[in-house]
Symmetry: C2
Amino acid sequence: MNISKRGLEIQESPIRKLKPFADKAQERGIHVFFINIGQPDIPTPQPVWEALKNYDEDVLSYGPAQGFLELRQAIADYFVAYSIPLTPENVIITIGGSEAIHFSFCVVADPGGEIIIPEPFYTNYNGYASFANVKIVPLTLSVEDGFRLPPAEEIEAKITPKTRAILLCSPNNPTGTVYTPEELERVISVVEKHDLFLIADEVYKEFVYDGASHKSILEYDEIKDRAIVVDSISKRFSCCGARIGAVITWNKDIFQSILKFAQARLCPPSIEQSIALAAYRMERDYFVPIREEYQKRRDVLYEGLKDIPGIVMHKPQGAFYIIVRLPIKDCEHFVRWMLTDFNLGNETVMVTPAQGFYSSSGKGKDEVRIAYVLKEQDLKRAIHVFKEGLNKYLSLFSK
Amino acid sequence: MNISKRGLEIQESPIRKLKPFADKAQERGIHVFFINIGQPDIPTPQPVWEALKNYDEDVLSYGPAQGFLELRQAIADYFVAYSIPLTPENVIITIGGSEAIHFSFCVVADPGGEIIIPEPFYTNYNGYASFANVKIVPLTLSVEDGFRLPPAEEIEAKITPKTRAILLCSPNNPTGTVYTPEELERVISVVEKHDLFLIADEVYKEFVYDGASHKSILEYDEIKDRAIVVDSISKRFSCCGARIGAVITWNKDIFQSILKFAQARLCPPSIEQSIALAAYRMERDYFVPIREEYQKRRDVLYEGLKDIPGIVMHKPQGAFYIIVRLPIKDCEHFVRWMLTDFNLGNETVMVTPAQGFYSSSGKGKDEVRIAYVLKEQDLKRAIHVFKEGLNKYLSLFSK
């Protein structure tokens, strides 16, 4: 009696697996700067907490499978403000962006189906691929050119008869890259030519810097039937623990099918939907200072790292991550060493080895992902400690 | 470009698909007694609401994938009070019992694997079977003998080389049957003999009547490595909208594998976990009056129905459902007619056609499921209206 193959093979979260070393460092009294995960320190907005205090029901009962209509309307309205004329009929509330990914994978592909995803990519796509028994076909991008998408022919070379969809994440976790309209249109022409779906993870939509803005795949009429958008309030409203996301589509067949998947799990959490509603009803200028804060942090991080000899990176245009190549053969060893063997005045830093963001074997071993989720002062200190640790490591271990 | 086969084939919730007819009846000003779904009217306990008001965080952040330790400890303690010596290392918090079912299916079976489930069964098992691409093999039980389990040979006749597990739900939704220790032991000997897992949905554990008590599969040492229990606070604490459940296992491999599935969806909702903790910390006598209330309702329903000519049913021992066979060929037609064409003094009743609880084609067409989730007075009135409707229907449509 063995557990299933998928149960054995599903990847352990590469982000979480080094956490025990950080825990032990903390037990030894060392302060760890956590710039490894995308947990924002931005306070959850006050209207969310007020909605929580004002929640008033006698029975905490089931809601509709597709989510409460008011919330679906509020999300539609949020997109309308971006000139994307959604209605609640295009929006299904999900349990986090995670479930939106899972539903999207299941609705486009049967077991054995393939989904092309530029790598490095958000590692939890792997978990859902195992869950849904679909195969992720990586399209390898490179830190040298800032993870830009390759020419159409290179994307097309990944297509097989089993390919069902291409997934883009923009602004990108883990690279911080925001695809240009030209890049989106390149992919759109590929999905049209080869009759594929296009899934877009747009959860970092609000986090685009330098006055630029995010372009959604929902803005392209030519793929109205092919577009599936994965959305979430986690980062947008600093509500990671709420587990409220959405899957958005113009395609009525996709909507109906996802609705049936949604019925199987009954409904998203009721209380957390009501606080999400409060978040969406805030004024849009809520995002302005937050965007400015992250842009400042990005600049602090980028400027702080750029004089490291041998470092390769590009300035991120969005989200709050950067992938950097270090003059190190095995960054997982380095990250662990920083937690087990190094401290500077009782401080150390935890970043994430980038290997787990690649599905091509051996890729990303000399890269790390850094999340700029700390306040400026802490981030500056973290960068200083990181650089000192890196120097020490390089002096101990030759490349 | 078509959506996936699983996306097309996943069953629409048979419980929810007649809801639009009820909505229309209400729009016509008719009062509908809803005894079709298991949404208890019992108020969510006060400590839960107090925990909600007292929730105090700055950032609604991610929790651990396996759920908060305090809640896992509280659930373990709840079972310890039943002399089942669990620790937090046996408990993973899930997003509702639904996710616990999904995880269980995925950890025991790969796509194409088979799980034997006595039918009629909780219809959402179908949704998760589609999701996980496992095949449910029904073991057909009968209303005539109160849905008791058949001899071991009949269960064994369903086993193929692809069989991975047997799933039991006790107290049962939709039949109200509580399996006896002898029935459990019969199934346990089958899973041992054929090297299978045993999944038990025990969410109605507290709802057992006439002074009897529920026996968990966790109490059998001989299947410590084979037992997986699906649990939920939805009915136990009248918290259906919280979406907090648990999967419980002694088997460390299963625990580790489910933990990896859990990491893919990051974490269960944080606020709802904290209110679940408050529920589990209540005194155990919380359940006494609730159990009495449901037992009274069961008796009211059973006594109210038993003089219907041609009816076949057995008195449920647990949960809050009953399956009754009516002298009607097509109960879906009857249920719809009750909503579209019938009313008694502007009142009508919605029950659920039982066909959707069977996966064997054609089974259950002459049965309905009734949930006794209304207060005594309302339930009595609902029974009266139901019987009048039934008489009228029988006079219009011969069998």
